[in-house]
C-alpha cells in the first residue's frame, strides 16, 4: 500500500531523513517511534508530499507520489493523490471559520464536488462515529483538544482515504484527553484501515500496531512486532530510548 525507498530529506545542512526504506501492506498498522527530531514527522510529511523529498521514491497504492517518470506531476494530479491519503496533525489544524460538521465535509464538497446535503449526512454519521453527535454545530475554538482531534480524524476519514497518516496525534493533548483520541484510532484500525502513526504512546503501539519502527537520527534502526521491539530490543539506542519513555 505504501512503499518508501531510500528516502532522503535535507533541511539545509540537517539530514532529517537519511535513507529510509519501508513498506506497509494494506490493512497494516505501523507505529513510528523514536526521539524528537528522529525523522518521524518528516517521513509522514514526505509520504503525501507536504515536504518534497531530497531524493528517494514514495509509492502509495502502486503510484509514485509527486513524480511520473522523470517529470513532476501537475499540482492537480498531486492534489488527487493527496485526497487518497488522510492526514491527522499534532496541532489538529481545524479551520476555525467553520463548525465541526463543515470542517468534516469541506473536502467532500470542495474537492469531490459532492452536494452539501449529501456530504452533511455523511459528515454527521462520521461525527457520530467519533462520539461528537452533540458537537456538530460547534466552532473549533469551543472544543477541547481531544474533541478537536476527533473532528480532525473524521475530516480525514470523510475523504475515504486508502491510508491514514497520524503525526503525533496525541502529543499536544492534556493527559486526560489522550484516551478518547486513541480509542477512536483503535476503532479505525480495527475496521481495516492502513495506518502509519508517529507516536510517543507506547501503550497504543504495543496494543494496536502490527509493526513498530524505531527511527533515530533520520535512519530506521529497528523494525519488528511490538513483542520484539518492546520485549527484545536489539539495539542499545532503542533500549535506552525505551528506558526513558517507559518509566
Amino acid at each position: 500500500m505504501i512503499e518508501v525507498e531510500n528516502l532522503v530529506k535535507h533541511f539545509g545542512a540537517v539530514r532529517a531523513l537519511d535513507g529510509v526504506s519501508l513498506s506497509v501492506t494494506a490493512g497494516e498498522v505501523v507505529c513510528l517511534i523514536g526521539p524528537s527530531g528522529s525523522g518521524k514527522s518528516t517521513l509522514l510529511r514526505c509520504v503525501n508530499f507536504l515536504e518534497e523529498p531530497t531524493s528517494g521514491v514514495v509509492r502509495v497504492n502502486g503510484r509514485r507520489v509527486g513524480w511520473e517518470g522523470t517529470r513532476r506531476v501537475s499540482a492537480r494530479e498531486l492534489a488527487r493523490t493527496r485526497a487518497e491519503i488522510g492526514m491527522v496533525f499534532q496541532h489538529f489544524y481545524l479551520w476555525p471559520h467553520m463548525i465541526a460538521l463543515e470542517n468534516v465535509i469541506e473536502g467532500l464538497v470542495t474537492v469531490k464536488g459532492m452536494g452539501v446535503g449529501e456530504a452533511a449526512a455523511k459528515g454527521r454519521a462520521l461525527l457520530e462515529k467519533v462520539g461528537l453527535t452533540d458537537k456538530m454545530e460547534v466552532y473549533p475554538e469551543h472544543l477541547s483538544g481531544g474533541q478537536r482531534q476527533r473532528v480532525a480524524i473524521a475530516r480525514a476519514l470523510a475523504m475515504e482515504p486508502r491510508v491514514m497518516l497520524f503525526d503525533e496525534p496525541t502529543s499536544s493533548l492534556d493527559p486526560e484527553l489522550v484516551g478518547e483520541v486513541l480509542r477512536v484510532m483503535e476503532q479505525v484500525a480495527s475496521e481495516g484501515m492502513t495506518m502509519v502513526v508517529a507516536t510517543h504512546e507506547m501503550g497504543f503501539a504495543r496494543k494496536v500496531a502490527d509493526r513498530v519502527v524505531f527511527l533515530d537520527q533520520g535512519k530506521i534502526l529497528e523494525v519488528g512486532t511490538p513483542e520484539e521491539i518492546f520485549g527484545r530490543p536489539r539495539h542499545e539506542r532503542l533500549r535506552r530510548f525505551l528506558d526513558k519513555v517507559l518509566v
Binding site: 492534489a79 481545524l94 473536502g107 474537492v111 446535503g117 452533511a120
Partner: protein
Amino acid sequence: MHLDFGVAWKFLPILLQASLMTIALFVLSQVLGTAAAFFVALARMSPRAWLRRPAMAYIWVVRGTPLLLHLFFVYYAAPAFGITLDAFPAAIIAMSASAAAYNAEIIRAGLQAVHRGQLEAAYAVGMSYGQVVRRIIVPQAVRIIIPPYMGNAISHCKNSSLASVITVPELMLTAQMIYSSTYRAIEILTVTGAIYLVLTSCLSALQMYLEHVTTYEQRGLGEARRRRLRLDTPLPTMPA
C-alpha cells in the same frame, strides 16, 4: 466676531452636490485600489523574485512619496508622454495607485496571519492552491484585515480633498470657491467639516457592522445555513 450660518445654509445644496464627487472619487479609487492591492499582495508574497521585487518596489515608491505629488504628476506630467487626462480620471489613477500600495500591505498581513498548518491541512485533503486561497485563507484574512483596512479607508476618504489641487470639483474645492467669494470661511468650513464627518462616520459604522458579521462564532448559525447542512432533520439510524 459675527457668524452667519444663513450663508452656509444657502450653499448647502451645492456643498452636498460636491460631496457626491468626493464619494465618487473615494469609492471608485478604493475599489480599484483594493482589487489591485490583492494582486500586489500575492506578488509581494511570491517565492518568485520577478514577481516579488517589482511589488516591493511599487509599494516602496508609492508609500514613500506624497499623494499630492502623485496627483500633480499624473495630471501635469502625463501630457509630456503624449497623454492628456481630465482632472477626474487623473485623480482616480493617482488615488487608486496610492490605495493599492497601502492596502497591499494590509492584505498581505492578513493573508500571512493564517497559520501554515491550516493550509497544509487543506492541501492534505486534496485542495488546489486556488481552493485553499478561496476557502481557507480569504475567509479568515478578511476578518483580520477589516480594522486596519477600514482605518486606511477613512484616511483615503479624507485624502480625496487633495484632488482639489488639480481642479476636481469635489467638496474641498467647492468650499474654497464659496468662501473666497462670500468671505464666510468659518461657516463654510464648519459645514464642510461636518459633511466629511458624516462620510467618515458611515465608514466607521460599516466597520462595526463588518466586525459584527465576521465574529461568526459568537452568533448562531443562520437559518439558511442550518437548512443547507440539514441540521434539523434527524439522522437515519446507522447500524452499529
